[in-house]
Symmetry: C2
Subunit: 211 residues, 2 copies
DNA sequence: ATTATCTATAGATCTATAGATAATGC
DNA sequence: ATTATCTATAGATCTATAGATAATGC
């Protein structure tokens, strides 16, 4: 069994050094880059496939179509955030303030850490289509986690339902917005940026860490 | 001269009650609705024209193409915000804190007041293209106004350049983000929402109104 | 005559499928 | 034999233009 370079199937027309990734993952990476920078509808299946190193038709060997790529990217980026949120909701040994801070920090860090601006996927207009309802359910669950942690802070303890919804929108809007603005200065440390955003979120809530 | 209903030119195939708007403004309105809800590339010239009550080809009597519509929508939504910003920058009788608050409030109010979610236009991936550089220059000028007002607040007086840029990104990100999140609850009063966002922006800055 | 609109369509895509091809595996 | 890939293309768009048409204006 020789080291590498031996693969089943017809060779690709354009040979490239082996990235180590599966063909499917290369397609997902290409789609992430193109969808976030040019948009979903503006990105052709040809552009995705050729950036992944294969011809347009070959893409269909791995995915059912463009929609599949977007659906998978959406789910795979929101899932880690939601896992963090669930764990924080269950942790009743820590103050709501500290848990909210950590949720904000990790959310921003997760989305700003990767090579592409995955947060930009969330606001693509096409994502509002029924096809992506699964993503929206998960995203709503994440937003609910923000609301629950906010409701647990001392500063928000006495707010009525409408006021709490307003604060939740402000905090959630901050997170969504800074991820987009991040592309204006992508060289800044994602960790520093994430911590600063979490600080700002607590200030919006009227809360303080360790409270 | 009879009241209405008398117009030069071949009648439209689909007759509709006169909206009072010019054909060009009807096209702009249709484009605003479709670009914000479905996206720019996903919106066809046929969809825009027919929503405006005319056939696809007739659109070219009023605009050079889809790009023109987007360019005009972008400029016309950022221009009023920038006019407010310039006026506030020149007003040295008011504290930087109060002026920053007002800039945030009016920016959110302007974008959330209209029937469509015009703020969503700003984050369309297609807007990053060179074709819309004019919009980006104006938008950068608006962001600079945020930065200058922030620098004038007591809370930010001693920050270095990098720290100030970070705060500016946080405040600007909040504004951009809440405008997007606003679509989750478009029935809420735009004025209340705008004021609450401005309050939140000052808390991020570490400043207080009347400071 | 002027104008606003229409119908028709050329040319350029874009997606998804059909079927051929060139590797390895046994 | 199996697999991954290729080339070729049908069918469905989509944009922008050409040229006809049906009103009013004079």
């Amino acid at each position: 069994m020789p080291p590498t370079g031996r693969k089943v199937g017809r060779p690709r027309a354009q040979q490239r050094p082996d990235s180590g990734l599966s063909a499917r993952d290369e397609l997902l990476g290409a789609a992430a880059e193109l969808f976030t920078s040019r948009g979903y509808s503006a990105t052709t299946t040809r552009a995705v496939a050729e950036r992944a190193g294969m011809r347009q038709a070959t893409m269909y060997h791995y995915v059912a179509g463009k929609e599949d790529l977007l659906a998978e990217l959406l789910e795979s980026t929101v899932t880690p955030s939601l896992a963090v949120a669930r764990q924080l909701l269950a942790d009743d040994a820590t103050s709501a303030e500290d848990r909210l801070w950590e949720l904000c920090r990790s959310d921003v860090a997760l989305l700003c850490a990767g090579p592409h601006n995955l947060g930009a996927l969330y606001v693509l207009p096409e994502v509002q289509a029924e096809r992506f309802a699964g993503f929206h359910r998960v995203r709503t669950e994440l937003k609910d986690a923000y609301g629950q942690l906010l409701a647990g802070t001392e500063a928000c303890a006495d707010l009525d339902k409408g006021e709490l919804a307003l604060r939740t929108d402000l905090v959630f809007g901050l997170i969504e917005g800074v991820i987009l603005v991040h592309r204006s200065d992508p060289d800044r440390s994602a960790d520093v940026f994430a911590a600063a955003t979490a600080d700002a979120a607590l200030r919006i809530a009227g809360a303080r860490r360790g409270g």
